[in-house]
C-alpha cells in the first residue's frame, strides 16, 4: 500500500496568493494512498527540507510529491533530501503549481481546483514509480577543441595545462584564426601577432596537445564522456613530417597571382603556400583547385625545388577516429559579404574595403607591410570615410544584432590611420558609439580628442566615384543636414556573421543554433558556455559576436567545465532511459532507425543450442538519453521509458 507524502509549498506569496494551500492540503489528505499532506511557506529552505525528511521517517512514506515550482528549479533539491531520509530519490516527484498554475491564473478558486488536480495526478504517478538506480558511465579524459583561433587555442591550453589530453582541430592550414589577421588590438594597441603567435607556438609544442591542422570534424557519435569523433585530414600534398618549412617550393611556384584568403584578397599567394609567415605549423599545402599540375597535369616545379622530396601529388584525405570525453566548439565567425550593400559600391570600387581588409593593410605583416595604401593605385589616402554598422543592426540585410566589436575597431582604425598617415583626415559615420568594456570608452574618446577622428552621427545613403574620388553622401542627424564627403578610401565596418556552414556543422556535432547560425547556449544567463548537448561546450564568436577578451574568457570558462567533467573517473547519469520488453518486441527495428543517439542495437535471442529463436531490439543504457522517440514509434508498445512509463503517464492522465 502506498503512503505518499504531499508537501504543498507557498513559495512565499508566489503560490499562496492565488492557491488556497490549506484547502489543497485538506483535499489531498483524504486522497487514497496519501499518508501525509502538509503545507509550508518555503519547503526549499533548510527547515522546509528538514520537515520533509522528518515526515518521511515518522510516517514511513513510500513516495513524495512536492507541490511547488517547476521541477527545473528544485527537483534535484528534494530528491536529495529524500535520499538523505532513506527514500529512493526517484520516488520523489514535483507537481508544478507555480509556473503552470498560480502564476498564470487570476481566479483563486479555479487555481486552487487546478492545483488539486495537478497534485492528485502526480500522486497517482508516484504510486507507480519504481526505485531507479543511477547509471554510471566511464569518462574518456581527452578533450576535443574544434577551431584553432584564439578561443580554441586558449581552451586547449587551459585544459592541457591542467594535465589533460587535448586534440585541437583546425580546418585551415595554420592555427591563428581571425586574430592572426589583425593589426593592432583595442584598447591597448598592442600588435595582434605579437601576442597571438606565442600562444600558437605554445599550443603546437605542448606535450598534452595533439594538433591537427588542415583537418575537419566529419562525424560525432556518442555522448558526454564517450564521444566517438571522425576527423578528416585533408590532403596537404606535402609530407609534413619530412618538410622543414624551408619555403623553396613557395618561391619557385609559377602560380603567383592567387588571391590570398589570409590577406582578404588584398594580397597574393602561390598555389603551394603557407597562409602567413608565422604559420603554425610552418609547412605548406597545395591548393589543389589552382595548382597547375592538378589542372593541366604538367608543372611539378615544386617537386624539383624540394630538397627533401616532400611533395606527393598522390596523397589522399585520411581519416582519424578519436575517443573523446568532452568537446569545445570554437569555430569562430566570418565577415558579412558587403555586396549586400550595392549602394556602397563594395566589389565595384577597389577602394571600398571592409574592416578586415583594413586590418591587413595596417598590419606590419600585411601585403603593404603596414602602410595604408589604396588598393587601386597604391597611393596613400588623404581622406578615409569609415561607415559603421555596414550590415549590423540592419534587419533588412538579415543582421538584426549588433556585432559588438565594430565601434571599437573603427575607432582603432581611425587612430592607426592618424598615426601612420600624418595629416590624414578621417570621417566616421555612426549610429551610436557602443564602447562598453574596460578601457573602451576612454579609447574611443582618445580617437576623437587626440587623433581627431571626425565622428558624424548618421547613415550613409550612397557612395559613388567622381573625378578619381569616392563621393560619400550621408546625413548628419545632429546638425540635421545632408553631408557629402570626397574620400580616397571607404572602410565598411562589416557585420560579424556565423561561418557559412555553421548550421550544417551544428547538425554534425549535434548542437542547436539560432536563426542566424550562431550556436545556442544551454541558458543565456546561467549556462552561457554549455551547449544544450551534455559534454559539448562553446567558446568564442561561434556563439555570438565577441571581441578578444570575451572570447578568451569564454574559452577559459569552457575549459573549466571540461576539467570539472574530467575530475571524476565515472559520471553518474539519470536512469531515465528506454527499456525494451523483449517478450513482446516484434523486431521491426524501426526504433533502431528512429533513435537519434544510435542507442538501440539489434539483438539475437538464442536457445541453448545457439539457434536464433528471435531477434529483438536492445537499448544500450550508456548511450540512451531518455528522449522517448523510440517509445512513440513502437507500434506494439514494447519500449517504455523508465521514470516515465506508460503506466505512470496513464495513471497521471486518469488522475486528472
Amino acid at each position: 500500500m502506498s503512503k505518499i507524502g504531499v508537501f504543498i509549498c507557498h513559495c512565499g506569496e508566489n503560490i499562496a496568493a492565488k492557491v488556497d494551500c490549506t484547502r489543497v492540503a485538506e483535499v489531498l489528505g483524504d486522497h487514497p494512498g496519501v499518508g501525509a499532506s502538509v503545507e509550508y511557506k518555503y519547503f526549499c529552505s533548510d527547515p522546509g527540507q528538514e520537515s520533509v525528511k522528518r515526515a518521511i521517517r515518522e510516517n514511513n512514506l513510500t513516495g513524495v510529491v512536492v507541490a511547488a515550482c517547476s521541477p527545473r528549479m528544485h527537483e534535484a533539491t528534494f530528491r536529495k533530501a529524500c535520499a538523505e531520509a532513506g527514500l529512493n530519490p526517484y520516488m520523489c516527484e514535483i507537481a508544478n503549481i507555480r509556473e503552470q498554475c498560480s502564476w498564470v491564473h487570476n481566479d483563486g478558486e479555479q487555481a486552487t481546483d487546478k492545483a488539486i488536480d495537478i497534485i492528485r495526478s502526480m500522486v497517482e504517478k508516484v504510486k507507480r514509480n519504481n526505485m531507479l538506480q543511477p547509471i554510471e558511465v566511464p569518462v574518456t579524459r581527452r578533450a576535443l577543441v574544434i577551431g584553432g583561433g584564439i578561443a580554441g587555442i586558449q581552451a586547449a591550453l587551459d585544459i592541457a595545462n591542467a594535465g589533460q589530453e587535448v586534440v585541437l582541430v583546425e580546418r585551415e592550414p595554420s592555427l591563428g584564426g581571425h586574430m592572426a589577421q589583425l593589426s593592432e588590438t583595442f584598447p591597448t594597441l598592442d600588435c595582434s601577432q605579437c601576442i597571438m603567435t606565442p600562444r600558437m607556438v605554445e599550443a603546437s609544442q605542448h606535450p598534452k596537445i595533439r594538433l591537427l591542422t588542415y583537418a575537419e570534424v566529419e562525424h560525432v557519435d556518442g555522448y558526454i564522456g564517450n564521444f566517438k569523433v571522425k576527423v578528416r585530414m585533408k590532403a596537404r600534398y606535402v609530407n609534413k613530417d619530412t618538410c622543414t618549412g624551408c619555403g623553396e617550393c613557395i618561391t619557385k611556384c609559377p602560380q603567383k597571382k592567387l588571391s590570398s584568403e589570409f590577406d582578404c584578397g588584398i594580397g597574393k599567394r602561390t598555389a603551394i603556400y603557407t597562409p602567413f609567415a608565422q604559420a603554425v605549423p610552418n609547412k605548406p599545402v597545395i591548393d589543389k583547385d589552382n595548382c597547375t599540375y592538378f589542372k593541366n597535369g604538367k608543372c611539378k616545379v615544386c617537386v624539383k625545388s624540394c630538397p627533401l622530396d616532400c611533395i606527393d601529388f598522390e596523397m589522399q584525405d585520411e581519416f582519424i577516429d578519436l575517443e573523446i570525453g568532452a568537446i569545445v566548439v570554437a569555430t569562430g565567425f566570418q565577415v558579412q559579404n558587403n555586396a549586400v550593400y550595392g549602394e556602397y559600391g563594395y566589389g565595384k570600387y577597389a577602394d571600398v574595403i571592409n574592416g578586415l581588409q583594413f586590418e591587413r593593410l595596417a598590419s606590419a605583416s600585411g601585403p603593404t607591410s603596414g602602410k595604408i595604401l589604396r588598393p587601386s593605385d597604391g597611393k596613400e589616402p588623404e581622406n578615409i570615410v569609415f561607415i559603421q554598422c555596414a550590415g549590423s543592426r540592419d534587419p533588412s540585410k538579415g543582421v538584426k544584432y549588433c556585432s559588438k566589436i565594430c565601434c571599437m575597431y573603427t575607432a582603432k582604425h581611425a587612430m592607426l590611420y592618424a598615426h601612420k598617415v600624418h595629416g590624414g583626415k578621417s570621417n566616421i559615420f555612426y549610429m551610436d558609439i557602443r564602447a562598453a568594456g574596460k578601457g573602451y570608452d576612454e579609447f574611443t574618446r582618445r580617437a576623437i580628442e587626440e587623433d581627431e577622428a571626425g565622428y558624424v552621427r548618421g547613415r550613409v545613403s550612397k557612395v559613388w566615384q567622381e573625378n578619381g574620388k569616392l563621393m560619400v553622401r550621408g546625413a548628419d542627424t545632429l546638425l540635421g543636414r545632408p553631408v557629402e564627403v570626397a574620400a580616397d578610401m571607404v572602410v565598411l565596418a562589416t557585420a560579424m556573421v556565423p561561418q557559412p556552414d555553421a548550421k550544417d556543422f551544428a547538425k554534425v556535432v549535434g548542437i542547436g543554433y539560432d536563426e542566424y547560425g550562431f550556436f545556442n547556449e544551454a541558458h543565456l544567463k546561467l549556462r552561457p558556455v554549455e551547449s544544450s548537448t551534455a559534454g559539448i561546450y562553446l567558446a568564442g564568436a561561434c556563439q555570438s559576436p565577441k571581441d578578444i577578451p570575451d572570447s578568451v574568457a569564454q574559452a577559459s570558462a569552457s575549459a573549466s567545465k571540461v576539467l570539472a567533467l574530467f575530475s571524476k573517473e565515472k559520471l553518474e547519469r539519470e536512469p531515465v532511459i528506454a527499456v525494451n520488453n523483449e517478450a513482446t518486441c516484434a523486431g521491426c527495428w524501426g526504433c533502431v532507425l528512429a533513435c537519434p543517439y544510435n542507442a538501440i542495437e539489434k539483438k539475437d535471442i538464442l536457445d541453448r543450442s545457439g539457434k536464433v529463436i528471435k531477434r529483438v531490439a536492445s537499448v544500450n543504457p550508456g548511450l540512451c538519453q531518455g528522449c522517448g522517440t523510440c517509445v512513440t514509434f513502437c507500434r506494439s508498445n514494447s519500449i517504455d521509458l523508465a521514470g516515465f512509463t506508460e503506466k505512470q503517464i496513464f495513471a497521471e492522465v486518469m488522475g486528472l
Partner: protein, 276 residues
Amino acid sequence: MSIEQQYRTRAKELLSSGEVKMVIGYSKGSTPDRRRPAFISTPEDVETLVLDGACIANLSGYLVTEGLLSDEKRVAVFLRPEGIRAINILAAEFQLNAAQVEILGFNTEGNEPTALSGSKVDDFAELIGTLKGIIPDTAGEELYKKLEAMSPQERFDFWQSEFSKCIKCYACRQACPMCYCRRCIVDNNQPQWVNTSSHTLGNFEWNIVRAFHLSGRCVECGNCDRACPVNIPLRLINRKMAGEVLEAFDHFAGSSQTQEPVMASFKKDDTETFIL
C-alpha cells in the same frame, strides 16, 4: 495453356525439385466467388490450386507465421503487385528474408488473371515503380471522392457513424499482412490505452491507431476491407494516409526491400509544414 495450368506446373516443379517446401496459393472457397488460401506441401496437391479473377486476397501475411521461414527453406506464394510490395515492406522491417520467398506473380485485369514475369521480389522493381501514386484497387473510389469533398465536420460525422458499427472483432488486424506484432497495442492492458468495449471512444481509438500504424506501410490490398464483418470501408482511411505520406515525404510503401520506414527515418530536407 491457361495461366492457371501454367502456374500449377510451375508449383509442381518447385515442390518436386525441393526448391520450395510449400506453395501458398488459392483453392476453391465456400461460394463460387470466394477463394480460400491453400498451403500445399506435396506435388500431388497442386491440382487443387485455383487462379482466376476471384483470387484477390493478399497472401503475403501468411509468410510471417511464426516459425514458417525459420528453417531457412524457401516458400512460394501467389502474389498480386500489392502483395509483392508487402514483401518489400516485410523485408525492410526485418520480418522475413526476401530471398526465401519465390513469387508467383499475377495481376487481375477485368476477370482474367495475367502472369507477371519474375520470381524474386527485386525482379518486380520496375513494375512497382510504374505503380507509384496509382490506386491499385479502385473499389470505393466514388465514396473516396465524396469524402474528400466533405468538410472536416461532415467527414468526422461520416466516420463516427461508420465506426459505431465496429464490434472490435479485430478481423482487420488478423487479415492485414502488416499487423505482425506479437502483442498488439490493444492487447496491452497495463495500461489500457485503447478501450476494449465497443463504444464510440474505444472504436475511434482503435481505428485511428490502426490508421496511424499503417501510414507509410499500407499497400492497399484491401484485406481489411473484405475481412470487416460490418463493412466499414477501412481501406479509405489507409488510402488517405498513403496519399498524405506520398505527398509529404515522397514515400511509396513497398518500393524496395531497403526502403526505410517513413515514420522511423528522417531526412534533412523533410518538409516541416506540421511545425507551426
